[in-house]
């Protein structure tokens, strides 16, 4: 296995608040990498640093051999990183297919004139794009909702649609931010199968998840963040036994030990508004 992404000493400060402190993580190609930690540990902040929403105060992120720190989010998508959101951020008044199409469009080139006057290239890209968008919906098990507005899908299906939309951009690395949040046990099982299927298709997955059963069952390796610092790192079974991890979860009063199901889906983890 080769290194796909390196998070190298990333520190993120908002005013006086230090949300991430010298975080180092290396993701290898083809793995499912779990990122866990109590609410407010900085997990979503790290996602924002990787995807270009934030520019880290110190440190850098390298992806596929080049630095991506300082690039625009859409440029990072072009390089092959795409994500989902902890709080669902679909385009609510667009159909499920159009949502995925936005991701697929990221790889297209038509100009506004091509669109306005229906150039042959535009026509071809639209037809191919529609086929691809439907394939990704099928892949995520929600093809039957292709023509429904995203806002009318059930919560679990909206989470699947977010994954389909991200896959539409053809990522090498997929970042999932609490994909199981708000799902019932049946939906969670389906999600686990989907994430494995995505990995087996050759996409590396970086997963933030509160549900310990989901994250420990899926991940090849796990890193634990607490108060913006990486406090543990390794195979799931090792990390679960790490006293620092147990302490982090008990100490914050999160109500569950590592290895058990921590309360999932609580809003406000990370520093999204910062």
């Amino acid at each position: 296995m080769a290194g796909l992404m390196t998070v190298d000493g990333v520190t993120m400060e908002f005013g006086g608040l230090r949300a991430l402190s010298d975080v180092n993580i290396e993701i290898e190609e083809g793995e499912i990498f779990g990122l866990i930690g109590p609410n407010g540990a900085g997990k979503t902040t790290l996602f924002n640093c990787i995807t270009g929403v934030y520019d880290p105060t110190h440190g850098r992120v390298e992806f596929a051999g080049g630095a991506i720190t300082g690039k625009r989010p859409d440029q990072i998508v072009d390089l092959g990183i795409c994500r989902t959101f902890q709080q669902i951020r679909l385009f609510p008044n667009m159909t499920a297919m159009e949502n995925v199409f936005i991701g697929v469009d990221a790889r297209h080139q038509t100009s506004v004139f091509g669109s306005m006057f229906r150039s042959p290239r535009h026509h071809r890209e639209e037809e191919e794009g529609e086929t691809k968008a439907l394939e990704f919906l099928e892949y995520c098990g929600i093809r039957k909702y292709a023509n429904d507005l995203a806002k009318n899908l059930s919560y679990g299906d909206q989470r699947r649609l977010e994954i389909a939309r991200a896959l539409g951009t053809k990522p090498k690395l997929l970042l999932l931010d609490e994909p199981a949040a708000g799902m019932n046990p049946v939906e969670k099982n389906g999600l686990r199968d989907l994430v494995r299927k995505i990995r087996d298709s050759g996409v590396t997955v970086l997963l933030i998840e509160h549900d310990m059963k989901v994250v420990m069952g899926l991940s090849d390796r796990v890193a634990v963040l607490d108060h913006g610092e990486r406090i543990a790192f390794g195979k799931p079974e090792e990390v679960q036994k790490d006293p620092k991890v147990v302490e982090a979860y008990l100490g914050t009063g999160a109500g569950g030990q590592a290895g058990q199901t921590a309360p999932g889906g609580t809003a406000g983890s990370g520093s999204q508004g910062g």
Partner: protein
């Protein structure tokens, strides 16, 4: 107040013609609002450049005067609409670059955009009043090339006791063709999808690979383009233009956009047509000098009773 039923026909037809113009201009306000949540108050100047550019390029440079006919007329008319559209689209893009983008990069407060827009609008308008460059109109009115015969010799037909001339028909037909093209562009193409995505959630759009700057430029261009088409139609309809031609149609179109639901493209079309019909419909019962009073009364009325306008804020259909 005594109503004159004989005026119903003229009011409807004039309302439809002017309403089509308002609607075309309103598209620019509503599109920019849809993606940036910003009222582009300089759009009246963008519209004016559609008339000024065609007056200068086709009238002054190519020396087009007098009515054309047959195929020549069709080509000339297409040239008018395209040149007007491209010129205004270009002005709108330039405006975005100069007056808005620097503010956007600095995450300026919303009020700053409004002030910048008003400044840009007055700057462009009063530049047209100067005469040190050939395309500037100077202080007086200028004759616009009358390529369609609007007099007794020209094409016309009678509808509800109103004489519908070539220019009048052209305004309505061209406007509806534009509505059709834009509606398809927004709802059926990749460009339209990215505009809608940006209007719904700019952060998510960028994180799904949408190049935000490019889509914003596209939005200004497309809105400006249709404003420019409206400018060329305005010149053809009235036969003369002056440096401040953008002012009244501009704020009428803004009113129309609010009436239809600012940010909503079909709303802008509907709002424009309705505003034209309402203000001209009022002349059936009260004097024409009340037209503007009635039109602008719509602004507070809409904001009080239906703040999101008739069709709400959604940009797409």
């Amino acid at each position: 107040m005594d109503c004159n039923p004989g005026l119903i026909g003229p009011a409807l037809i004039t309302g439809l013609i002017l309403g089509s113009l308002y609607a075309l201009i309103a598209l620019g306000y509503t599109m920019v609002y849809g993606v940036l949540k910003l009222i582009n108050f300089a759009h009246d100047a963008v519209f004016a450049f559609g008339a000024v550019s065609t007056w200068y390029i086709l009238g002054q440079v190519f020396g087009l005067v007098g009515p054309q006919s047959g195929l020549t007329l069709v080509i000339v008319l297409l040239a008018f609409l395209m040149i007007g559209g491209l010129a205004s689209g270009g002005v709108a893009v330039g405006l975005e670059r100069v007056a808005y983008r620097p503010l956007r990069k600095r995450h300026a407060a919303r009020l700053s955009y409004l002030i910048s827009a008003i400044g840009a609008s007055f700057f462009a308008t009063y530049m047209l009043q100067q005469d040190f460059l050939p395309f500037m109109l100077g202080p007086g009115p200028r004759q616009y090339p009358n390529v369609i015969e609007a007099g007794a010799a020209g094409f016309s037909f009678s509808l509800m006791n109103v004489r519908v001339t070539g220019p009048r028909l052209l305004v309505v037909v061209a406007a509806f063709v534009c509505f059709f093209i834009l509606d398809r562009l927004i709802n059926k193409t990749s460009t339209g999808r990215s505009i809608r995505a940006l209007s719904e959630d700019p952060v998510a759009a960028q994180l799904m690979g949408v190049n935000v700057d490019r889509v914003i430029v596209t939005t200004f261009f497309v809105g400006g383009f249709f404003g420019g088409v409206a400018g060329a139609l305005y010149g053809t309809l009235f036969g003369s233009i002056a440096w401040n031609l953008g002012f009244i149609p501009g704020i009428k179109a803004f009113t129309a956009a609010v009436l239809g639901g600012i940010g909503n493209i079909r709303g802008a079309m509907l709002g424009g047509l309705l505003l034209g019909l309402i203000e001209n419909g009022s002349t059936i019962c009260i004097g024409p000098e009340w037209k503007n009073v009635i039109a602008f009364t719509m602004l507070p009325l809409v904001l009080i009773f239906r703040p999101t306008g008739i069709m709400g804020e959604r940009i797409g259909g």
